[in-house]
């Protein structure tokens, strides 16, 4: 059974574990949080650049025909796909149509907010990825600024044991308190190992003696002069506090219990591969709903960089797998009551699905698709407007098109071409952080929240 957020935190405080410097890890507070909404976030990264024609921004193949390709500069490529995946997917929301690999996500159309016609201003994976993580253009390949998940963890997550969890996704912190740093792991099994006492861990007497040694060391002048030494000892204490909370079983998806078996069925988790997006999706929901984390970054799909003939056989199934996982997360979050008022965890948790950029609208000479600066993203839950498509790409080459930030209606003449920072400002503004804390220098796309 998943412990409630309230009971977990109460138990954590009850352990009375303190850092070497006297302040309990889970009580360290950021100064100026102000009044913020009780929101949680899952950032689901589609790694490698997704094909929007197959998912979030499709085109009707009866209109965008092969014989018009030189005019539209768009080749849907649907005719190269397997039978059953050659048509658009209609949804219950009028006008909200998806590509053939939208998968189970189509069931949740009335909850989705799709943003189309975005620009990433780059064709480089690292730059696009870091732009979408930080909302700021990297300097070369070097990320600038903190990840949005770090900022949100900083403002909202000061009471969570692991304010920010990141599985196989980069995280940056240039200007936020250290408690907002991501616990960044390469797999869910690594996360379990991080939360579990070591196999040969010292027993209490020896452990206390080593702690005393560190404390004595921490009092010496040399240590106090060095940020490195001081932060080393603080992180050591934080690691011990985290292990003391006994959270490892929450993520032990290989355990042969009824609870874990049900979870493996829901997400299609193989016990032999806890690096999979499936395991990451389950971990994300567990981390949020167990009161462990405020923000989680995860890899919903990988190996999407399909420049060659593998595009026809691999791109679609891989993004469909990611969309199916998001649908499974929506299902689980919606099924879990958040409070006695009838609201669910989905009402408080926003899932943001993103990739570094889209893929070229024409097939290349290898029957694959290259990179394209255009992009789209999808948000769901946590107060996001459902059943809406904001903006749109052009019908010639799917170029980014400006939109009215308040309505999401496209306007090539007076609209603003949306980039990640417009979405980040909207998320932060909705949470209650109206100041431009990320130095995005962009107005919020308020149409996301209506």
């Amino acid at each position: 059974m998943i412990p409630s957020r309230r009971s977990l935190l109460r138990g954590a405080v009850g352990t009375g574990v303190l850092s070497a410097f006297g302040a309990p890890l889970i009580r360290r507070a950021r100064g100026a949080a102000g009044e913020t909404k009780d929101r949680y976030f899952i950032f689901a990264y589609f790694n490698g650049g997704w094909d929007l024609l197959l998912g979030l921004d499709p085109r009707d193949p009866t209109i965008f025909r092969d014989d018009l390709r030189k005019v539209t500069l768009i080749d849907t490529g649907y005719s190269y796909l397997p039978v059953g995946y050659q048509n658009l997917v209609e949804t219950s929301v009028p006008g909200m149509t998806f590509g053939p690999y939208i998968g189970d996500l189509a069931r949740h159309a009335e909850k989705l907010c799709v943003v189309r016609g975005m620009s990433m201003d780059t064709l480089t994976h690292e730059v696009g990825r870091r732009r979408y993580l930080t909302g700021r253009a990297p300097s070369g390949l070097q990320a600038q600024g903190s990840s949005l998940s770090t900022i949100l963890a900083s403002y909202l997550g000061k009471n969570e044991p692991v304010p920010q969890l990141s599985v196989r996704v980069e995280s940056y912190n240039t200007d936020q308190p250290s408690y907002a740093n991501a616990i960044r792991v390469a797999s869910v099994s690594d996360l379990v190992r991080a939360l579990r006492p070591g196999a040969d861990a010292l027993v209490d007497v020896e452990k206390a003696a080593v702690d005393a040694l560190m404390y004595q060391t921490g009092r010496c002048e040399k240590v106090h002069r060095s940020d490195f030494f001081r932060s080393s000892l603080e992180f050591r204490s934080a690691a011990q506090e985290l292990v003391a909370l006994g959270l490892d079983d929450t993520f032990d998806f290989g355990a042969y219990t009824d609870e874990m078996e049900a979870l493996r069925d829901r997400y299609g988790i193989s016990t032999g591969d806890l690096t999979s997006p499936n395991a990451q999706a389950a971990a994300a929901v567990r981390a949020i709903t167990s009161g462990i984390s405020r923000t989680v970054c995860m890899e919903a799909a990988r190996d999407l960089d399909t420049h060659g003939p593998e595009w026809a056989s691999s791109q679609g199934p891989r993004i469909e797998g990611g969309f199916n996982l998001i649908a499974a997360m929506i299902d689980e979050l919606a099924s879990l009551p958040y409070s006695d008022a009838g609201d669910s965890w989905l009402d408080h948790t926003t899932i943001v699905a993103f990739s570094e950029f889209g893929r070229s609208t024409l097939l290349n000479s290898s029957s694959g698709r290259d990179h394209n600066i255009h992009n789209a993203c999808m948000l769901v839950g946590g107060g996001v407007r459902g059943g809406v498509v904001l903006g749109g790409s052009s019908d010639v080459g799917m170029a980014p098109v400006g939109m009215d930030l308040a309505t999401g209606i496209t306007s090539a003449e007076s609209g603003t071409v949306v980039k990640p920072e417009h979405i980040f400002r909207a998320i932060l503004t909705d949470v209650g952080i109206t100041e431009d804390v990320g130095d995005y220098r962009a107005e919020p796309l308020t149409a996301i929240y209506g």
Binding site: A194, L202, E206, Q216
Partner: protein
């Protein structure tokens, strides 16, 4: 300083002859700008732990195979894969501290299985398990340990040894045996920032 040599009687618990290398004349740092501390990378850490413990690393049996855990966890420990990352994360962060402690505990536990009986000792230099604090021999061993693990050359009466001596005294007084005290000292030395920074 002349070499310090211990030669003790032979027997089952015979400490090895120990040679503390003579300190070389320090290089002049005049005119050289200072720099901040830097953490060892994962490869350096793995090698260092094996070196100071006399060959013991961080391994675990999985499916009948011994798995080297620094290698298994290198992604989580921030080692670059040269696909998504080209620079190693050298922050002495939370996960680093957790896994460092795990590694130290495992390596030190394995080392203490053989340390009291081997001749080429890494930690219990010149002492046997029957030696209990306070003891000049233990002070000498502590001095040698600080040199081996941290590269710090401290005289036996240097106050810098006090926290390490206190650790041995505390564990011995609570457990009534020196083996757990030496093991805890080993973990304390490896998890200390002086070990993994330079």
């Amino acid at each position: 300083m002349s070499p310090l040599i211990w030669l003790l009687a032979c027997g089952d618990n015979t400490p090895a002859a120990v040679v503390i290398p003579e300190e070389k004349t320090p290089l002049s740092t005049e005119g050289i700008p200072g720099r901040g501390w830097r953490r060892m990378n994962v490869d350096q850490l793995r090698s260092s732990i094996e070196r100071v413990t006399g060959g013991f690393g961080w391994t675990e049996e999985q499916g009948g195979q011994q798995v080297e855990l620094f290698a298994a966890l290198e992604g989580t420990l921030g080692k670059p894969d040269y696909l998504s990352a080209t620079e190693e994360d050298l922050l002495p962060g939370l996960l680093f501290q957790k896994f460092l402690e795990d590694a130290a505990s495992t390596a030190c536990h394995a080392m203490m299985e053989v340390e009291p009986t081997r001749t080429d000792r890494a930690l219990m230099v010149g002492v046997v398990l029957e030696d209990v604090p306070p003891s000049p021999k233990i002070d000498e061993a502590l001095s040698a340990a600080l040199l081996r693990f941290h590269g710090r050359r401290l005289a036996v009466d240097d106050p810098g040894l006090d926290p390490y001596r206190a650790l041995l005294v505390e564990v011995y007084s609570r457990r009534g045996a020196m083996a757990p005290a030496w093991e805890a000292l080993c973990v304390g030395l490896i998890t200390h920032p002086d070990f993994y920074s330079y």
